[in-house]
């Protein structure tokens, strides 16, 4: 059963979040209005991206980034047209024209730009193909998605949907198991992160940092999408209301009642 839907209902940011958290390997295929996008992942990290007919081959990327000259670019096109990007990359590194870092940085920038382009797509059928891997003849990267996700969440403008994403500011936040390293956050986001603790509700964090309700919602949405925090019940609200839940206060009787219910349902 493939992961599929429409960007109208499930945004690219949400998809990246899901792929990241689930450490998925495969390719996200999106049918846009006029072109198709292929974004490949390995274990939840961005590996490769292509939109439409853009070739994105290594030679053209390095040429656009002024890492190789026009003559070098032409020479590659004439004599090394049959080479894979991996072979070409090795050749250029060995010849001293570029470094491995040059190649990886340029590819990261290019693939990230492709994903950024997708953030502007508001409609389109998507499907995640587990069996479709990045093309063998292209150099794959291994880029963490958190920063792209946070960037994507900054674009989230629909206030009503933001309200749905973070409905109750009287809930608190706690960190997930994912480490908070190499994450680029704005000053306001760091201010919020500083106060992440089940003792502090989002409303309290907003008041302390002089943020409006919309601002705190947007920041928390970004942190949630990146999988850095999760919602939690505030620590001072762990009052159990069992006296209302059960018709009896006696624990033994409560257990007996529950066992009766379990027994009844099992025999249905």
């Amino acid at each position: 059963m493939a992961l599929r839907g429409n960007l109208r209902d499930f945004t690219i940011t949400q998809l990246l979040n899901l792929i990241n958290l689930a450490s998925k390997t495969g390719t996200l295929v999106v049918d846009g209005a006029s072109e198709q996008a292929y974004i490949s992942f390995r274990e939840g990290k961005l590996a490769y991206a292509r939109i439409g007919k853009e070739d994105g081959n290594l030679a053209s990327l390095l040429y656009k980034a002024n890492k190789i000259t026009t003559n070098q670019y032409r020479a590659i096109a004439d004599r090394a047209g049959q080479m894979t990007d991996k072979e070409l990359g090795l050749l250029l590194i060995n010849a001293g024209y570029v470094t491995q870092e040059d190649i990886l940085l340029n590819l990261q920038g290019y693939f990230t730009d492709m994903v950024r382009k997708l953030f502007t797509w508001v409609e389109g059928i998507f499907r995640f193909e587990n069996e479709m891997l990045p093309p063998d003849d292209r150099i794959n990267i291994k880029l963490d998605l958190e920063n792209i996700i946070i960037e994507g969440s900054h674009r989230f403008r629909d206030l009503e949907k933001l309200q749905d994403e973070v409905p109750n500011l009287d809930m608190a936040l706690k960190f997930t198991e994912r480490p908070l390293t190499n994450v680029n956050l704005s000053l306001d986001e760091w201010k919020v992160v500083k106060f992440v603790d089940p003792k502090n509700t989002m409303r309290q964090i907003a008041e302390t940092n002089m943020l409006t309700e919309t601002e705190i919602r947007r920041i928390v949405y970004g942190l949630l999408q990146a999988g850095l925090v999760e919602l939690a019940r505030p620590a001072d609200r762990l009052v159990r209301q069992y006296q209302k839940m059960f018709p009896t206060q006696d624990k033994v009787e409560q257990k007996s009642l529950l066992n009766k219910l379990i027994g009844r349902i099992r025999t249905m």
């Binding site: 409905p167 257990k255 009642l257 099992r266």
Partner: protein, 179 residues
């Protein structure tokens, strides 16, 4: 006679009425009327505008009532009323409609805020070809590992029983932990 209550909640057309219908010994009481929106008409011709109500009699001393919340957001004022005194609740999610996941998340967080009672999430319509896999539903709903997400086919009594039992096991655990 002792009565206890569980609430079945979730977004529009998630399968709440059918869930209760699968185990209730009485005909599920629901007031229905035709909807006016073109979009929603394509999904179902009738929708509940009052709560669903079902019953499971354990013995002459104990009855379990199942309350289904109205699916539409405009009836969310009823959620707080229905959540009072509940043993626990079930959030139904339509696995075939990712456009409802955001609302399901919102409903879940709203109920969690009302009452710190045990709950489970049921990914319904898992028998359909276009249903999302459980892991993907979990991530889409931002459910942490400690929350039970159960496959469900609301027309299948066995899966409905499993969901109810898992909720009851959660409740037993809470009572045992003495919190």
């Amino acid at each position: 006679m002792q009565t206890v209550k569980m609430v079945v909640t979730g977004s529009f057309n998630a399968g709440k009425t059918q869930f209760i219908r699968s185990v209730s010994e009485i005909e599920v009481v629901a007031t229905e009327r035709r909807i006016s929106s073109e979009d929603r008409r394509s999904i179902k011709s009738l929708t509940t505008v009052a709560m669903d109500f079902g019953r499971i009699t354990v013995d002459e001393d104990l009855v379990l009532y199942l309350f289904g919340t109205p699916g539409q957001k405009r009836f969310n004022f009823m959620w707080e009323i229905l959540s009072e005194g509940m043993l626990g609740f079930i959030v139904m999610v339509d696995s075939t409609r990712p456009e409802t996941f955001r609302e399901a998340r919102s409903i879940l967080e709203t109920f969690r805020a009302y009452a710190p009672t045990p709950f489970v999430v049921a990914a319904n319509k898992q028998d359909k070809e276009d249903s999302w896999e459980l892991d993907d539903v979990r991530h889409a709903l931002h459910l942490d590992k400690g929350i039970k997400l159960l496959p469900c086919v609301a027309t299948n009594r066995d899966t409905v029983k499993t969901v109810l039992l898992e909720l009851l096991y959660n409740i037993v655990k809470e009572v045992d932990s003495g919190k």
